[in-house]
Each structure stands twice: as C-alpha cells, then as structure tokens.
Symmetry: D2
Subunit: 339 residues, 4 copies
C-alpha cells in the first residue's frame, strides 16, 4: 500500500490531531504518501483532499480540535455517496483510509472496506462509549476539563455552603460522570446506568449536613436528566439547601489533550497504519487491558466482530460498552454520611 | 489598635483568602491580634469569631474561595443587628474590622465605623464593578477562567465551523466580557454598556463567512440577555449557521487566584491594616493608576467619598464604575471582516 | 479489625492525599477507626499518631503532597525500631497499617506483618518503577507536569531555532521520559534502558535540519547522564546548533494530582482497607491490565511474591519493572527524518 | 502610509504573537497592507518578508512564542546592514515598521526611523526591564509560570520539611522574583536591587522553625547569584535544613500568554499602527498608570526621550526601570517570624 488517507468524523475530541499526526508520520516512515481528507465523509465525497507531509502535522500533538475539520454527514449511508467517495480515492491512487471518530464513522469505514478500500476505525469521542475499546481518544481530556471545573465549583460551593448540581456530558454512558465524580470528590453521582431515588439523595444530604458538611456536590450525566430538572425534583423532595446548577457544556470537547490522550492517540494512529500496510481493513482499533487490539467492525460474534446485522437488517452491538460501575460503588463508600 | 478582625461578605471571589492572609500577617507584624469572623456579617452578629495566627493562613495565598466562608445577610442594614455585632466585637476587645466584599459589604463597614469601630472595605468580587477601584480582587482570575473556557470552545468551534455564543458573568458591567473577548479573539462582544443591533452581528457573520472564516465566537455578558435569547434573535435575523450556546456559570467564581489577584489582594490586605493602625475607618481601598488609594465610603463628592446620601435618603454613587469601552472599539478593529 | 492506621513514606508524590482520604473514608464506611501516622516510619516509632475523621480528609482528593508528611527513615530496618513502632500501635489498639510509598516502604510493611500487624503497601512514587504494578500513584501527574513544561519550551525553541535538552526525573526507569517524550513530540528520547550513540543523535539532528526543521527537542531521563553532559557530548560530536539545557527538577513532584492519579489512588486506598478487613497483610496493591491486584511483598516466585530473599540474604526482585519500550520505537517512527 | 511591516527581535516572550496579530488586524482595518519579517533584523536584511492577511494570524492571540521567529542579530548596529534592510523595505514599498522586542531592538527601530522609515518599538520581553513602560509583553505570563512551579514545589517542600531555593529569571531586574515571591508566599526573596546578608536568611529560617514552620521557600533572581551558590552560602552560615535548589529556566519564556499579556499586546499592537498612520516614528510604546503612552526612543530628557547619547558616544538611559521595591517590604511583613 503506497497511498493512504485519514479523516475525522462526528463530534471532535481532543487528541484527534495527535492521531492524525501519528498516521501521517508512521505512514511516511513506512514509505507511504498520506492524504488528509477535510470535513470527514463530506470532504471525501466532494474531493476536499490534500497531501500531508511531516511538517504539516508539526506541533499538532498538543492541539485540541481537528485541523482536518469534522462534519456529520448522514448521506454517506447511501451507496451513491459511497461510490462518489471511492471515485475520489481512486482518482488519487489512495488505497486505504484511517477514520477517526465515533460509532457512526465506523459504519462508513465498513462500507469503504466492502468496496475494496481497506479502512481502519479509531475511537475518537469524549464520551468513552465506543464499542471495542476501554478508552476513547479524548475521554481523559474531557474528564480532566470537567474536574478542573468541579474543583473551581467546590471552592465557591464550600465558601457559601451551597449544593451544586453539575451536569457533565454523557448521553448514554456515565463514564465522564463516574471518573469526574470520584476525582472531584463528589457527594453523589447520577448516571444513566443506575436508577436512583431523588429522595435518597435528599436523605444523604441531610445526613451530611448533620455531620457538619454544609456544601454538597452532585455530578449528573446529561443522559439522566437536565440539571434544572434534578434541582426541581430535589426541592420537591424537601431539600432546603441553597441550590445551584451548572452545565459544563462544550468546554468538555476542547482543549489541549492530556498526556494520556496524546499517547493513546499516537499509539492508535501508528497501529492503524501498520494494519493497513498488512492489507487489513474493516477493523476498529481499541485498547483493552492496556494493550492495543483490533476487531472486525461488522461480522459474527465468533469472529469477534463489534457489530452484527440482525435478520431484520438492524444492527446489533455484540460487546456493548460498559461504564465502570465499580466507581459508582466506590464513591458511595467514600462519601458515606450515615456513620 | 491592638485587636482587629477580618470578614468576607457577599459573593466569594478568588483572592479573598490571599487578602485575609495579608490582613492576618500584616496585623501580627504590627503587633496586633487578628480575629477571623466566619460567614460575614452573620457570623459577626452571632459571634462566630476566632483568633487567627500565622499558621492558620499558611498556603491560603493560593486557595480559591474563602476559608472564613461568606454569606449574604441583608439583616445587617437594621440597627438592631449592627448593635448585636458591635457587642460581639466589644466582648473580645476588637477595635477595628477589615471587610472584604462588594458594594453591599461597604455599607456595613460604614455603619460599624459610625458606631465607633473603624472598618476598612476591600473590593472583593469577580465582576470588577465596585466603585473606587480600577480592579477588584478576583476579576483577573474570573477572566482567566473565562478565557480558558473560550480557548477550549474555539477548538471545537473551528473543528465544526460553528457559531458559539458564550455567556460570561457581568450583570451590570461588561468588564469580564470585554477582557475575555479581546483575550480570546472573540468576533463579537455584547455588553450592557453598549447597545447593539442583532442584525449587525448577522451581517458581520456573513462577511466573515465570505472571507473563509466559518466559525464565529460571540462573548455575551449575562446582563445583556441570556445566551439562548441571543441565539433565537440571531436565527430570527437570518443567521443560518450551526449555532450553539454555552453558559460558563459558577466556574468563574472559583479556582486558585492568578498572580495578579494574589498580589493585589496581598497589597490591599496589608494596606487596610496600616489604615486601621492609623485609626482610620469608613474607607474603601482601591487601586488606581497602579497605586493603592483609599476613599471615604460615604460622604460628599468634595471629600472624594464614593457614595453620598441623596436628600430623599437614597444612595448616590459618586464615581460610578466604567467598563473599559476602548476594548470594545479595539475588538471591532481587530475583527473587521468588511475589508 | 477495628482500628487501622495509614502513613506515607519516602519521596512524596501527587495523589498520596487522595489515597489517604480513601483509606480513611473506606475505613469509616467499614466501621473502623482510622489513624494517621505523621512523617512515615519515623512518626510510627515516635508515636506521632492521631485519629482522623471524615472531615479531616475533606478536599484532600485534589491536593498535592501529603498532609501526613513523609520522611526517609532508614533506621526502620533495625528490629529495635520496628518493635518501638509496634509498641505505639499496640498502645492505641491499632491492628493494621496501610503504607503508601516506594519499594523501601514495602520492606517496613513486610516487617510489621511479620510481627503480627498486617500491613498493605500502596505504590506511591512519581517514577513508576515500583514492582507489582503497571502504574504508580503520582506518575501520571509527574508526566503531565513534564509535558506542560515541554510544551512551553517548544514555544521558545521553535521561535529561536534552538536545540533543547530537557532533563526529566527517572533515575532507574525511563517511564517519565518515554511518556513525556511521546506526548510532547520530542525528537529524541534518551532512557537508561536503551543504549544510544551521541553521534546518531547529531546525525538525526542534521537530517531534521535538512528537512527545514530547525528546532530540536531531546528528552533525557536523569538516570542516563546530566543534561549538561549530553550537551557537551553533542558538541564534541559536531553539533553546531544553538543548544540549551533545562532541568525540570522538583516541580515534577508537586501539583494537584491528575484525574488518573486521583482515581487510581482512591481505588487503591479503598482496596487496601478491604484487604485489611479480610485480615490480609504483607501484600502490595498494584494495577495490572486495568484491574487492581495484590501480591505478597516477600516470598517465593511461585507464590507470586514481588521479592525473594537470596541464599546470601540479599533481596531479589522477582518481577522487575519494565518501562514501555514500545514507546521508544514509536517515537523513532513518528520522528523519522531520514525520509 | 499604505504598507507596513512587523518583526520580533531578541528573546521571545509570550504575547508576541498577540501583538503581531493586532498589528496585522489593525493595519488591515486602517486600509494598509501588512508584511511579516521573519527572524527579526536578520530577516529584514536578507529579505525574508511576506504579506500577512487576516487569516494568517488566526488563533495567534493564544499562542506562545513568535510565529515570525526571532533572532539576535548584532550586525544590525552597522550602517551597511541597516542600508541593506532599507533596500528590502523599499523594494516592497513598505513605509513603516513595528518592532517587538527588548532594548536592543529599539536601537534598530531608531536607526530605521533616522533613515526615513518610521519605526515603532513595542516592549516584548519577560524580564519587565525595558525603559518606558511599567509592564512588558510576556512579563505576566512568565511570573504566572514561575508561580505555578512554586506552588508545586511548595507541595513537596512542605511534605518533607525542606528548604527550597528556586531560581527565577531576571538578570538585572528583580520584577519576576518579587511578583512571584509575593504570589507564592515565599519566605524570602533575593533580588539584584537589594543587598542582603546570608546570615540574616539563616536567622529568619531558624525563627520560622521555632514557630513550627519546617519548610522554607526562597525565591532568587538569577542576577543575584546561582541557586547552588546561595545554597552553599546558607550551609556555610550554619543552615542545617534539608536544602534543595530548583532552577526554573526556559519554561518561563514559553506558554500561552495570560489574559493580561494578550490584552496588553493587543492594545499595544493596535496603538503602534495608529502612530505609524500619523507618520510618527522613533517612538516606543509603553503602559504607565494603566494608560498607553509613547516616548521618543532617542533624544533629550526634555523631550521625554528614553535614551540619550552621552558626549562620549555611549548611551544613557534617562528613565531607568525600577522594580517594585514596595513588594520587597510587603513580603518581609507577610513573612515575619520574629513575633
């Protein structure tokens, strides 16, 4: 394989640039030419593609966002658009593609592979909820940003004896909330994976108050409910504290990636190139038990494929992501006000 | 004067601890005993007061929040509560007080002085809108936090070609928005001090897009309107961009103070003690033209008093705070998309 | 077990406070009383021991250093001192101990266990070179500090077309240098585990210059040689660049712990208490393949013991720490200037 | 004036990019074309000059270093080289120049002006020691970096009861040491502007120890002596503490500029363009008492010129920089261990 390309797709995450840099540098080290496709699958279809050299990724290891830009492009599920994209690859002699993004991006990678252009998926998202990996590129940075914010909020919370509900990202997965909650010493963590009773939170708040702890910090994953909704529910259940809500929002997506994310992205980017060099495609790279692994994106459970097609044509996720529930229990023990 | 006390009142701000530390250390260096009053005027009235020594403020120069806690306590406008507070001071032989907080806190300081207990006010608030000073303790930190957030948001904004409205603090004053806007390279800054037309923002956005700039960053002071309101207004005026709103919220109140705030707080805290030592009270400390100054809190314009009493008993601010409007003009020039 | 104690020993590392907090909180949640021993084994022998409650560890999850203080205390290898320490434990009814520190601290933990006081070791050091774990408490923070510094040095290095040698910590292990080097995009990494020829670095520098890259960043583990020594060696081999040396030094030991370190410390601290509760001792906790594990500190290889006693009485490390050499190779590929 | 240029010279400092951006953007807003000269005066002489547009300075407000690169170029004191530089300007129709750098850079600006090319100097250096301004671009960031490091060192210092000497930049001026010392709560600050006796430091250390303060932090400006020299002197005078030295070095030159530096650089850059537009040259921009000012670089004291030529041809600085000695006295009061 002499020419490969790289694109970023879906929501951006810190470390995408480090991953692109690794693809470019490893590719060049392997004697390849590496192209950058701008704006994800949209740029692929429209031919927004340019040759990258070593210098073009200089200093990118430390930069947030993605200098190749990203875009959501649902059109790419249609064959017509896929074929257009492939024309663009063919016209430039590109033989393989690295796709950095979320689950959605993996589907595109699968299609390209089926059309004869091996594609490798790398998990780039802050939510940590991608199948086939324990950690995604950007997760550690997002949690770090959330904890920086929580540390600041704790200052003002304890100065005023306030209760704070801090809403963090995580639509389907509680990973950010769990990690951030433990790291910030949150009194309660609310995640989509665990049902909870609002009255129990109020009860615990009252126990904490009795022990002389007058501020209280609740980390809430956005997938559970809105911060304001939880605030109203707490009030309805009898909470009388000075209660505030803070929604961290998009700051969690940006910023210079942490060391963890830079190293993970660098390793995964280089690994993807090696897989392409071996002529492999249709694989997603992950990290499991501290080792890089790769799995077929689509196929049977026996093959270790991350997703299968159900008889009715719908997609089945074979090894669904699981948030680290042990952190939920740990937090309960570390913030036990009943004793 | 052999015994003084210090309290923090109103909303907390980063650097309050550094100011307390300076009061304690300078007081001890002057041969005084220094007491800490907890929870502001509430603690004064309730006698929540304890002796502080050198070690009790160790490492506090770097800590956010206020370890003396703060509280809003409107009751203190009533004579009855003031007299209760004075009883507490008398009972401990305390002869003077340093009050760190906002405008409201200054009123209490004035009352204490009128009752024979000299009190000095220090400007502690993140909004920078206190009369009698060009900079308040906490302002530089709050702007720094806002700019950290804006830098992160710019990463994701430019990766996705999005428009972002970022709402920062500042109910009456545009200082945070102006400083943060310049420092973050915002395309537009909306402040309470300047009327603006939403259609002009849309026009400028379109001009920027024509020049190939596809992301756009608007910093909005909360005193103007809510971020969501501005978003709707932009849409109504024809904006078609991928538009997001982020409300920074309470993170702006917390965090380890910046160098500027630590030095400002240290200087002001020490200065307040010197004024008390000279038997002065009813003064507010400020920084103007890089020099520490003090002004009577209440009195006539001729005396340089910050506030006067109108014939009808209401309060008149003699030298109202002015936001640095030249930064508004500077930002227009630095983000001029019509050429 | 109703009463346990915790101490920190050896060089301090960020996250020790988070670990202490977890021991205290988990202990209390299990119905125990938890004592803090100050100044490590020295405080144990001297009886510098106090009861800790939930509030005493409040906010400690985010604080650098160790609020229990640490000290090196070689005297503790002597039986006499061990017995004195045990008297102190007995006098307070303390039945088990958690020791947070380096390899040296583990020996003390072993001795206590042999004397009938179960002790559990937690790996607290920035160097990541402790047997029995893939990551130590403090390592991620130290690397993060190093990378922050490297990012800054790269700014000035590239502004001036300079070569920088940055000496990082790591006497025996290249872990900090490897992680920091990858994360900062270093051009070369020099570690104790890999021999290298100075002439090869000069050759690579010249190749980089030919490709228009005029600044060059070398990360050097202190265990290899001093930065100034390497600088002289480069000059002798013909390097003509504008060369500077920076020794990061003790900043790598301090600072608020990263999210990783806070979570790792919290998990390990809680786990140690559970092991004590089961009556276990003489074990060291580690993380391997993302799971908490524990191993006998001393014993046979078959038992999985981390160390054994040789026939001549010296200590043999059974599973010596290995730095992630794959990062060394990765960095070579990502900074390949021969193409 | 229709065409201007900008260059950075001497040691780089954080905020130079923000200043360049402001020159470019303000120039374009004024209807000018703005050229960037690379590598300072060297690039001027060699014609390493290119047109900059609005997009070329995008995001530069937040970047450390200087994207135009800097270089020391003593040759420019010779007429021959000045004339070569002027040829390069003439060939491109450039009529005025903004020079960002230290005192040395101002001399070049003066020469260009004398040759009929108005040049404006902006103070860009971390040391804060440039004549004609109270603050230089980069100073606040350098102090902030120093204080971040000092905060970390305090963690490890207090964990181990150690004395730390931390050497910060400042060859001739104690500004960084003074600001950093106050902000970090240093026990002692040693600056070139104040003689001190080593025995007095030892005395104070002993007094501090008596009060139960077992760690001690000394901030030392490099212009006084080397950290290791001070350490030896302390030992000779009888200090028995566990003493360490840390040299912060080049990290102080890099990093994303602080809010203060970004705003100062933006204001100064825009102001320089306005001065050029009015046809003015040979001026240096400064900030004094919070207002932008400009002074002739060379001339008589009566004209307010920053420097004059002595009868013997040497240069006389008319208004030498003075470090804020009041911070020295403040620190003595805030760290008074004799009571």
């Amino acid at each position: 394989m002499k020419r490969i390309a790289v694109l970023t797709s879906g929501g951006d995450s810190p470390g995408m640039n480090a991953a692109i840099r690794a693809v470019v540098r490893q590719g060049i080290a392997e004697g390849m030419e590496v192209y950058g496709i701008k704006y994800g699958y949209k740029g692929l279809v429209e031919g927004d593609i340019e040759l990258l050299d070593t210098a073009s990724v200089r200093d990118q290891v430390a930069r947030g966002g993605t200098f190749l830009y990203s875009a959501r492009y649902p059109e790419f599920v249609q064959l017509e658009y896929q074929l257009k994209g492939i024309e663009q690859l063919k016209a430039r002699g590109i033989e393989g593609v690295v796709v950095i993004g979320g689950d959605g991006s993996y589907h595109g990678a699968m299609r390209l592979t089926e059309h004869g252009f091996p594609a490798i998926g790398l998990p780039g998202t802050i939510d940590n909820d991608i199948v086939g990996t324990e950690y995604t590129i950007g997760f550690d940075t997002a949690v770090t940003t959330a904890v920086d914010a929580l540390d600041k909020i704790r200052d003002t919370s304890s100065s005023h004896n306030r209760t704070f509900i801090v809403e963090v990202m995580g639509r389907d997965a509680g990973d950010i909330a769990l990690w951030a909650g433990i790291a910030a010493g949150a009194d309660d963590i609310c995640i989509p994976e665990r049902e909870f009773k609002v009255e129990n939170i109020v009860k615990r708040m009252n126990e904490a108050h009795k022990q002389g702890k007058n501020h209280y910090l609740i980390v809430l994953a956005e997938g559970v409910m809105h911060g304001e909704e939880l605030a109203e529910a707490l009030k309805r259940q009898g909470d009388l504290s000075d209660l505030r809500v803070s929604v961290l929002g998009h700051i969690q997506r940006g910023g210079s990636p942490t060391v963890r994310d830079r190293v993970l992205a660098s390793r995964m980017g280089a690994h993807a190139v090696k897989l392409l060099k071996e002529g492999k495609g249709g694989l997603a790279v992950g990290i499991r038990h501290e080792k890089l692994v790769e799995n077929p994106i689509l196929g049977s459970v026996e093959e270790g494929a991350l997703m299968s097609i159900n008889p009715d044509g719908s997609i089945k996720v074979n090894f669904p992501h699981e948030a680290p529930i042990e952190l939920y229990r740990l937090n309960k023990a570390l913030n036990n006000y009943s004793k």
